[in-house]
């Protein structure tokens, strides 16, 4: 399990400055209207305070998506591919659990002298950058479920989605001659058979909970409205499904729900006991980056009017000027 590095947090602070330095009025004026979440959107709620770091979700994800085990170079001495020890998302890891540690690391979900877990995978943005930047439409967002899917048979491997994702999610497998992009697709192949994503299916505590975003939002409200210490039945697997819940008490949550507003909102939401930047979750502004870049392109290229007018103007001038200097442009070659 990799430790979330402190520098991540410092970098996070840098992004916040970046967001602040662009005048929001100008940026909002150029941006196209934000996309709205589908009423049938499905998502996940990851509650860091419930996570015990067992990594059953990581193993189940590998199995469900037929991904190979990953062993960092430092561990190859004793670990001969028998134990997956993925440290971060990669071309061969779609889901990973990381740990935050501070000081003596004695108390769970404490910022000082404490520790906390965090799960990283695709957040399934409401207005995804990867879908917006892909030149061939290999990344698609389902209109109903909102699942962001990837089609390797269409992808050209340009990796603009890797570069452009504000959450650092899509990964290219650089180690293969026929590499492709890897990202969580909410186990859409399992959902077709009526199953739920493997990570939520195996989570023993309900830290990873699957379900319609609307219902997950109500669940978040219930948890954050209850006083810390209140006994609570935490649902497991899929919300509303009749699985025995995890009986525990309401923890002390930090303010806010990560994913509610980030980059125009996402279908994965996080609750935690430690500030989100400390968990290595990038600090991202509210405006979706796709809305700005598409807004600019559509302003410049609306109906192709500007390029057509420019073309006609250039053609007129070029025709006149070529005629004026015809001899210059058709030099008779003496050598032949």
């Amino acid at each position: 399990m990799t430790e979330v590095d402190r520098r991540d947090f410092l970098r996070g602070a840098g992004f916040a400055t970046a967001a602040a330095a662009v005048p929001t009025e100008a940026s909002a004026a150029i941006a196209r209207p934000p996309k709205q979440i589908s009423p049938q959107a499905v998502g996940m709620l990851y509650d860091s305070t419930l996570c015990i770091g067992c990594k059953a979700c990581v193993a189940a994800c590998k199995e469900a998506n037929k991904m190979p085990a990953e062993v960092p170079a430092t561990l190859t001495g004793w670990n001969e591919n028998t134990w997956d020890s993925a440290e971060d998302l990669s071309g061969r890891t779609l889901n990973v659990i990381k740990v935050y540690r501070n000081g003596t690391a004695e108390q769970k979900d404490h910022e000082i002298n404490g520790f906390a877990f965090v799960k990283r995978h695709c957040l399934h943005c409401v207005d995804p950058s990867c879908v917006s930047v892909c030149p061939v439409g290999a990344m698609q967002k389902d209109a109903a479920t909102g699942i962001v899917s990837y089609d390797p048979d269409v992808c050209i491997g340009c990796r603009y989605c890797v570069y452009g994702c504000p959450f650092g999610v899509p990964q290219f497998d650089f180690s293969s001659a026929l590499g492709k992009i890897a990202k969580c697709e909410f186990c859409r192949h399992l959902q077709k058979d009526g199953k739920i994503p493997a990570c939520c299916d195996v989570c023993p505590t309900g830290a990873s909970l699957f379900g319609p975003v609307k219902e997950l939002e109500r669940e978040i409200e219930r948890r954050t409205a209850a006083a810390p210490g209140t006994p609570y039945q935490f649902p497991r697997g899929k919300i509303g499904e009749n699985r025995p819940p995890n009986a525990a008490t309401i923890p002390t949550y930090v303010k806010g729900v990560y994913g509610e507003h980030e980059a125009g909102g996402t279908q994965v939401r996080y609750l935690a006991g430690v500030p989100f930047p400390k968990l290595g979750l990038p600090t991202v502004g509210r405006q979706s980056p796709a809305s700005l870049s598409e807004g600019m392109q559509h302003t410049i290229y609306q109906w192709l009017i500007a390029p057509l007018v420019a073309f006609v103007g250039f053609a007129f001038l070029a025709r006149r000027n070529l005629a004026l200097h015809h001899d210059d442009d058709a030099p008779p070659s003496k050598e032949g």
Partner: protein, 379 residues
């Protein structure tokens, strides 16, 4: 009356042999890349999915290929026929800058065997800036070859084809100005999606304008650089009189770029960030100092009059424009999860090989085709 003629020099020289060797080395590493994957050759990683093959060979390489664009704008749109002798060498450098940029894209693409999907209408993704760049660049490569084709037609005496081409040349010329304006600005727009990952010193809504204006300035600088190097190398009469007149245009374009660059930083309150000690801030100042040095050379009569100063001004402009692109795409970009990137030796050798191939083909073309100003070349 100006005419173009092949330069009567030997094709096999120590220089060309070194260039061939560099190209061969690059192709060996490319073979390795195709057999074992991008990771076997390049240091690109999850934090830096784009390395120098994208940023140097394509983003910077096509800006070096803007000579044809810049000269066509001056000669055919603003009707400055006196610069026509510089047109063909400019087109030739553009031809190779762009053709090899396109070639570099192919070996950088992770799933190159599906690259044709870019041309299938049912896969077209009109919201993607990269889709627009890809189509525009492909179209412009074709336009450049047509713009340059009179050199072939004259050499082999296809007079009939050339007459038809002459009649329609204005369409090609118009496209040859429109397409680079579109995709060079879009190379800036490609970064608009990086709002939360790019330093405010580079992230601005003016990225498209800053990219296209600097591409234009670099286009003129390439022409000045190349004219000086060619005339010195082959002991041809200097084109300095012509270049000196043109450089005032370049000077004011550079000034306009600097005004936009700093006006925007001040308007966004981002300038204080340029006084925090870090490598990216240092490179920010180097990049802008290069532009400023070039502007000072080109707008002062003394700077324009001196052949040495003008040459150094062109070099400064090319260096500044390249560094601006490198900074915007790689240095000013903040990766997640502490990834770092520095190109590997094989990765560098491939990029060097691409440049070597460009220079090699340029030399072969000027020695076999009517490219250079004839009166000089025939001496």
């Amino acid at each position: 009356m100006s005419t173009a003629a092949p330069l009567r020099r030997s094709l096999v020289t120590p220089t060309t042999l070194v260039l061939v060797a560099l190209v061969v080395i690059a192709f060996c590493f490319l073979l390795q890349r195709f057999l074992f994957g991008l990771g076997a050759v390049a240091n690109i990683n999850p934090g830096y999915p784009w390395g120098i093959w994208v940023v140097v060979d394509v983003i910077i390489g096509t800006a070096f290929g803007c000579g044809g664009f810049a000269m066509a704008l001056l000669v055919y749109i603003f009707n400055r026929g006196q610069y026509h002798p510089l047109m063909r060498p400019a087109l030739l450098s553009g031809l190779f800058g762009y053709t090899l940029g396109g070639f570099a894209v192919i070996f950088d693409l992770g799933r190159y065997w599906q690259a044709y999907n870019l041309l299938l209408p049912w896969h077209a993704q009109l919201n993607s800036v990269m889709f627009e760049v890809a189509l525009c660049v492909m179209a412009y490569v074709v336009v450049l070859w047509i713009e340059f084709s009179p050199a072939f037609l004259e050499r082999w005496g296809f007079a009939a084809i050339k007459r038809v081409l002459d009649r329609w040349m204005f369409v090609i010329v118009a496209l040859g100005v429109l397409l680079p304006t579109m995709h060079q600005s879009s190379l800036g727009s490609m970064l608009l999606v990086m709002e939360y990952r790019l330093s405010p010193l580079w992230f601005t809504l003016w990225l498209p304008a800053l990219f296209v204006i600097s591409a234009l300035a670099m286009g003129y600088a390439v022409v000045m650089f190349e004219a000086t190097v060619v005339s010195k190398t082959f002991s041809l009469p200097s084109e300095h009189a012509l270049i000196s007149k043109m450089s005032i245009v370049v000077g004011w374009i550079t000034v306009a770029w600097l005004v936009l660059r700093f006006g925007d930083l001040v308007a966004r309150n981002a300038l204080p960030l340029a006084f925090i000690g870090s490598i990216s801030v240092f490179l920010f100042w180097v990049e802008n100092a290069m532009f400023l040095a070039a502007a000072l050379v080109f707008i002062t009569p003394a700077g324009r009059a001196s052949q040495r100063a003008s040459f150094l001004g062109a070099v400064a402009l090319l260096a500044g424009g390249s560094l601006y692109r490198l900074d915007a795409y790689l240095i000013g970009y903040q990766p997640l999860n502490n990834w770092s990137y520095f190109p590997s030796v094989p990765e560098l050798m491939v990029s060097i090989g691409v440049v070597a191939l460009e220079v090699l083909l340029y030399l072969i073309f000027i020695k076999t085709l009517p490219v250079l100003h004839g009166d000089a070349a025939r001496r």
